[in-house]
């Protein structure tokens, strides 16, 4: 009894839903008609907008309400007042006086009167009959109950026949017929299965009677000629079948019901009915599969095949519904799309329950994908774009699932990723070539995801310990590499690279600027290289690949490859370096086999350096790549023999680069634009690398060759190289490049630094002051030789100061563990003093600091130059004089100090004569005076007799000579 009431309630709900939709449609239709009516009413003059309240308002009146006379009204206005056209005869309503939308209450009243009275009436009557049946059931036997119910159904049917010709009773008649069908079905169902109504024990007979009821209902659904009745009868038929004991037969019957129901939709675009039918069948199938004794996971093969066949047949039939010309609408309609998609989903879900995990699912799914694809082609011919797009995507998805099941055939994740990648590339090519709009837009992201998926899977699957996995991964990566390369070539040849772009994600434009294939090629190349890295030929292989890409870029002017190469080349080089460095025991020959090919690819990058649509070239990436790799190759090649070779070689290369820069600079046509500049910068980099290596490695070198340290030979060679750089003249670069103007002159300074380095490391400390004086004189000489080196005159001052400082504070300190006088520090100090004497004379005569010019980075020295140039005496000469005094004071015994200081004064006096400087003479005389004071107060008092004699004689003698010289050269002062 409860089942019966549930059945009735379901009917009511279903009716309510159907009715609601119908009312909604009706309301919309009415509103549309009203709109049309309003438009068709021609407006009277003076009336701008709005509607007249009554038809009588069409009298000739102007806005103010005055009647318009004949004179005023034009001819057409004299026509009789416009009458609103009569609306189509409404069923039970009249045109409302107000043409505003009918109110909700009125609408509800109308719907209730038109439909619900019939529906509710039929339901109540059925309920009444049911109560009668209940009563009768208690008194009658089952078969009589069956007859009774059938009789009632017959009565209802006869009422249908009676009322169907009556104009206003058509709808009720339809419902009565449906009611009779439902009752009959109920009776048939009850005959075999409902306690109290059951009078047939034979299962097949009961099923047969049930089928009679179902057939009747299906016919009534067909005869109803509306989606409502068709759907209603299909659903109750399936519901009734669901109540019966389930078996394979019931499933087949359900499929037949669904197929019949679907066949009705071929008459008209009944998408609601189709949706309800397939939903109902899907629900039934699920119910059937989970029923004990029917479905389940332990089905026999025959049952499984039956289930698959039923589900597939219903799905396919529903599929073909949309393959008709009535669906070939340019405008996308959501309902057919949803139904179509849901159908695929229901079919797939229905078939999925029968999956045994067999590997033969793969070809089956593949075949299904092919079929779906062929269907989509048919949809394209029908010009149903939405259908074509949907089924194409479905085909792609099915094929994807098919490929994912390759794991059952033993395929690894990389193999599957490869297959998916190839699928998506093929899809993209087809979409771009043959399709437009949606598929073309979606194919690129799918392809990108597949490519990215392969890359990620590839990286995750790297296993350097397993040879087998490495081999397999390498084969896969090479296939993908080849495919992507060919794909890119295809893009270039067909001009379709824009459809593969990444920037279209952000702009929304399906055709972007930069295709992803360039980047993918680079990353895939990198992946392949990492997989193969341990083989000796890996370097050659990836270099060959890079060269091939360079050639392609050159041929097709592909900006995507430019991006890809920019990523690939430095990355593989860097990884190669790390790899080679991590296996130091391979041997130089093997390392070179690995590394040399990278030089080829880097050189190719400099030559095949197309950049941009014109014939512009960008040689700089290739130049810097080549240079860095050359440095590393030399480092690795020479390292096992001697680490000191690399720095020397780099310095040699820097000179070659300098000459190459000069050569390119002279070429009138250099499509690379600034090839010479980059060669120059690479040369500077080589020099910097040499200096760094020298500080880190070469300075440790204490080995001798002959009398000299080997390190000194490197430094001497470096000085020669820097001088070669410094003397390079290039007018073009001087006028054009700031780096040439700023850095080129500094090569002289670099040579000077290395010369100082040699002195510090090789010359004993004792002789440093003398060395600085020699430097000072040499720099002064060089500065006077050419104005280009005018700044050397200032540097000579620095060395002069260094010499003075060393003489004063260093030569007089520290002890030497030797008795030999030649080893003593003061000897070096004295030599420096003497040399400095001559230097000071030279400086005095030839030291024009005003014209010294400094290169950019050293411009701050100009301030020091100005300072010194203003007053040379306190900066140059006085420090010298003071340093001698201090040196003498700290180096020698106090007893001879007076003599020595007088000697200094004497030397100063000679100096004043040599340079004709009065000031020096004055200072020497002051010094002499002070010494005389010391002579009296110290030497007389504290020195011994012999020493006193020596000092006095010495001092006296020098003073006499001074006097003689003064008188002879008096005119100089």
């Amino acid at each position: 009894m409860e089942a019966f009431f549930i059945f009735i309630i379901f009917i009511i709900i279903f009716f309510l839903w159907l009715s609601f939709n119908r009312q909604k449609k009706t309301v919309r239709l009415l509103e549309k008609r009203i709109g049309e009516l309003e438009k068709s009413v021609s407006p009277l003059p003076g009336i701008e907008h709005g509607r007249d309240e009554t038809p009588q308002a069409a009298e000739a009146k102007d806005i103010s309400g005055r009647k318009i006379t004949e004179k005023q009204v034009p001819a057409k206005e004299t026509t009789p007042p416009v009458e609103l056209p009569k609306p189509a005869p409404a069923k039970a309503a009249t045109v409302p006086e107000k043409t505003a939308a009918p109110s909700l209450l009125k609408r509800f009243e109308k719907q209730f009167s038109a439909n619900w009275t019939g529906i509710i009436g039929a339901v109540i009557m059925v309920m009444g009959i049911a109560f009668l049946g209940v009563y009768a059931a208690l008194a009658l036997s089952a078969v009589y109950r069956f007859i009774m119910i059938c009789s009632v159904a017959a009565v209802l049917l006869s009422l249908y026949f009676f009322l169907r010709s009556k104009p206003s009773w058509g709808d009720l008649a339809q419902w009565l017929r449906s009611g009779s069908g439902a009752l009959f079905l109920f009776a048939c169902l009850g005959s075999g299965g409902i306690p109290g109504l059951k009078w047939i024990d034979d299962r097949n007979a009961a099923l047969g009677l049930l089928m009679a009821g179902i057939i009747t209902n299906l016919y009534f659904g067909y005869a109803g000629r509306t989606q409502v009745f068709a759907s209603l009868h299909a659903v109750i038929s399936l519901a009734a079948l669901g109540i019966a004991p389930q078996s394979g037969m019931t499933l087949m019957l359900a499929a037949a019901i669904a197929l019949l129901s679907i066949s009705i939709t071929f008459r008209s675009p009944w998408d609601y009915h189709l949706l309800i039918t397939i939903a109902a069948f899907f629900t039934y199938h699920l119910f059937w599969y989970n029923s004990p004794g029917a479905g389940g996971s332990d089905l026999q093969t025959a049952e499984r095949v039956t289930g698959i066949a039923c589900v597939a047949s219903v799905g396919i039939a529903a599929l073909f519904v949309h393959y008709r010309s009535i669906y070939s609408d340019k405008v996308f309609a959501p309902l057919p799309f949803i139904v179509h998609l849901l159908n695929w989903g229901f079919t797939a879900a229905g078939l999925l329950v029968y999956s045994t995990g067999s590997k033969w699912n793969t070809p089956i799914l593949a075949a299904a994908a092919v079929a779906a694809f062929l269907l989509s082609r048919r949809a394209k011919k029908l010009k149903a774009d939405w259908l074509h797009s949907t089924d194409t995507l479905i085909a792609i998805s099915i094929l994807l699932f098919s490929l994912l099941t390759l794991g059952r055939w033993g395929a690894g994740p990389v193999t599957i990723a490869l297959a998916v990648y190839i699928e998506m590339v093929a899809f993209h090519i087809a979409a771009v070539k043959h399709d437009s709009g949606f598929l073309r837009r979606i194919s690129a992201p799918l392809r990108h995801m597949a490519a990215a998926g392969f890359i990620i899977t590839g990286f995750a699957s790297i296993d350097k310990k397993s040879e087998e996995i490495t081999l397999m991964n390498s084969v896969h990566s090479l296939i993908v590499l080849a495919a992507e390369t060919l794909f890119h070539v295809y893009q270039c040849r067909t001009g379709s690279a824009g459809y593969d772009s990444i920037d279209s994600y952000f702009t929304g434009d399906p055709r972007g600027k930069t295709a992803a294939s360039g980047v993918f090629l680079a990353v895939m190349g990198l992946l392949a290289y990492i997989i193969l890295i341990r083989y000796p030929w890996a370097g050659a292989a990836v270099s060959a690949f890079a060269v091939m890409l360079l050639v392609l870029r050159e041929k097709y002017r592909s900006p995507e490859l430019k991006t890809g190469l920019f990523l690939l080349l430095p990355s593989v080089q860097l990884i190669g370096w790390i790899h080679i460095s991590s296996r130091p025991d391979q041997g130089t020959a093997m390392d070179m086999v690995y590394l040399v090919p990278f030089l080829v690819s880097a050189a190719a990058a400099a030559v095949l350096s197309h950049d941009g649509p014109e014939n512009r070239r960008a040689t700089w990436p290739g130049i810097y790549l080549f240079t860095s790799h050359l440095m590393f190759t030399v480092y690795m090649a020479a390292g096992p023999f001697s680490p000191h070779i690399a720095g020397t070689a780099w310095l040699i290369f820097s000179i070659i680069y300098l000459e190459a820069a000069g050569f390119y600079g002279k070429r009138t046509s250099d499509p690379g634009g600034t090839t010479d500049l980059h060669l120059l910068h690479a040369g500077y980099f080589l020099i910097a690398a040499f200096i760094t290596r020298h500080l880190l490695v070469d300075l440790q070198l204490e080995d001798y060759i002959g009398l000299f340290h080997q390190r000194m030979l490197i430094q001497t060679f470096a000085i020669a190289a820097f001088i070669y750089w410094a003397t390079a003249g290039n007018e073009r670069m001087t006028g054009k490049y700031r780096s040439w103007i700023s850095l080129q002159p500094l090569m002289w300074e670099l040579a000077l630094v290395f010369a100082v380095l040699i002195v510090l490391l090789e010359v004993p400390q004792q002789w440093h002051p003398a060395s600085w004086v020699i430097f000072a004189s040499a720099l002064l000489f060089a500065g006077n030789m050419t104005e280009r080196l005018g700044r050397f005159r200032l540097y000579s001052v620095f060395f002069h100061w260094a010499a003075s400082f060393s003489v004063a504070f260093l030569s007089s300190t520290g002890s030497v563990p030797s008795d030999r006088w030649i080893d003593q520090n003061w000897v070096g100090g004295c030599a420096a003093v003497v040399l400095q004497f001559f230097h000071v004379i030279y400086f005095f005569k030839k030291s024009d600091l005003s014209s010294a010019v400094f290169p950019g980075p050293l411009a701050f020295l100009d301030g020091i130059r100005t300072l010194i140039d203003r007053k040379k005496n306190p900066w140059i000469y006085y420090p010298y004089f003071a340093s001698i005094a201090l040196f003498l004071y700290w180096s020698f015994d106090r007893s001879v100090l007076t003599l020595l200081w007088v000697a200094e004064s004497f030397a100063l006096f000679i100096l004043s004569l040599a340079v004709k400087e009065n000031h020096f003479r004055v200072i020497s005389q002051i010094g002499l005076g002070l010494c005389l004071v010391r002579l009296i107060f110290f030497d007389l008092a504290q020195s011994g007799t012999l020493m006193r004699a020596v000092v006095f004689v010495g001092v006296g003698g020098m003073m006499l000579v001074m006097n003689a010289l003064y008188n002879k050269y008096r005119d100089r002062f």
Partner: protein
């Protein structure tokens, strides 16, 4: 290209090629893969010179330093035992080492009980040596080299530089302020030239050893003995900016290399000259001046590979 320049270019290329060929044939390798220590030593020369100049300006002299040394030695002479055999032996060796000392000090050494092999010098001619050092070194020539190194610190006034402000301030009764000034200067500048001073002391020690009868290989030998005393021999190392700057001493590997090469070079030019090693002298704690007839101690001829380096 002008002819002169072309010749210049050809000369440079030829020189570079010859240089590379020379290294290739000789197979020269540095003791460490890379290090910044020699560079810091070079840069430290300027600050070391400044420090030296500053000491010159500050009114302290050898007399002040001697008094400082006396105060230190008084403290240790009373605390440590000076009657041990080690004490006598070390001072005997020190005596021959300080024959060329210029400063007006009485050089004396003290042997202290410390688990680490070490020696250090104090102003005024005081040198401390640990017992562990005597156990670590292999010969008397090595001990002489170490004592010469410490003597070098004193003779070159490195010790005086460290306490100049204290000594100067003491004269005016402001010893504490002077100590603080020394501390500040040492903290700020010491790292920049400590390696330079160590190098100067090494150089002094080497020159001094050459003037004695001891084997010049004593100095690199001492460094080698110290390098293995902690465990593994010096390995090839990479440069480290902070470590290379902060280390107060140059790496032992470099010192071994440098003075091993110098000793080898000297040996090449003096193949017949005999020099004393003193392995047994050290074992018996009998200095060379007292006993020089142990068998096998006189070295002559041949070029030894610098000790501590692996064969290449």
């Amino acid at each position: 290209m002008k002819k002169t320049r072309l010749i210049f270019l050809a000369s440079i290329m030829a020189s570079g090629a010859l240089l590379s060929a020379m290294f290739f044939l000789l197979g020269t390798k540095p003791p460490m893969e890379s290090t910044l220590s020699p560079a810091f030593q070079l840069f430290g020369k300027s600050t070391a010179s400044m420090s030296r100049a500053l000491t010159r300006i500050v009114p302290v002299n050898d007399i002040d330093e001697r008094e400082f040394g006396v105060s230190i030695s008084d403290k240790y002479a009373s605390a440590e035992s000076t009657g041990t055999k080690e004490h006598a032996y070390v001072n005997c060796v020190l005596k021959s080492v300080t024959a060329f000392a210029r400063k007006p000090f009485r050089y004396r050494a003290y042997v202290i009980d410390n688990p680490h092999p070490n020696a250090f010098a104090m102003p005024g001619g005081v040198i401390f040596v640990t017992k562990k050092l005597l156990e670590t070194l292999k010969s008397e020539s090595e001990l002489a080299a170490i004592l010469a190194h410490e003597t070098g610190h004193i003779e070159l006034s490195h010790c005086l530089d460290a306490v100049r402000f204290e000594l100067a301030a003491k004269k005016i009764g402001r010893a504490t302020a002077g100590k603080l000034a020394d501390l500040a200067v040492n903290l700020l500048l010491r790292h920049s030239y400590s390696k330079t001073q160590e190098d100067e002391a090494d150089s002094y020690a080497y020159r001094l050893i050459l003037e004695t009868r001891y084997d010049p290989y004593g100095l690199p030998g001492a460094f080698a003995s110290l390098s293995v005393s902690g465990g593994a021999p010096p390995e090839r190392r990479e440069a480290d900016l902070i470590r290379d700057y902060a280390n107060s001493h140059p790496p032992l590997a470099l010192r071994i290399e440098k003075y091993g090469q110098k000793a080898g070079h000297w040996r090449k030019s003096h193949p017949l000259e005999k020099r004393y090693s003193g392995v047994n002298n050290l074992k018996e704690l009998a200095c060379f001046a007292e006993k020089s007839d142990y068998p096998g101690e006189w070295m002559t001829g041949g070029i030894k590979r610098p000790p501590g380096r692996s064969n290449q």
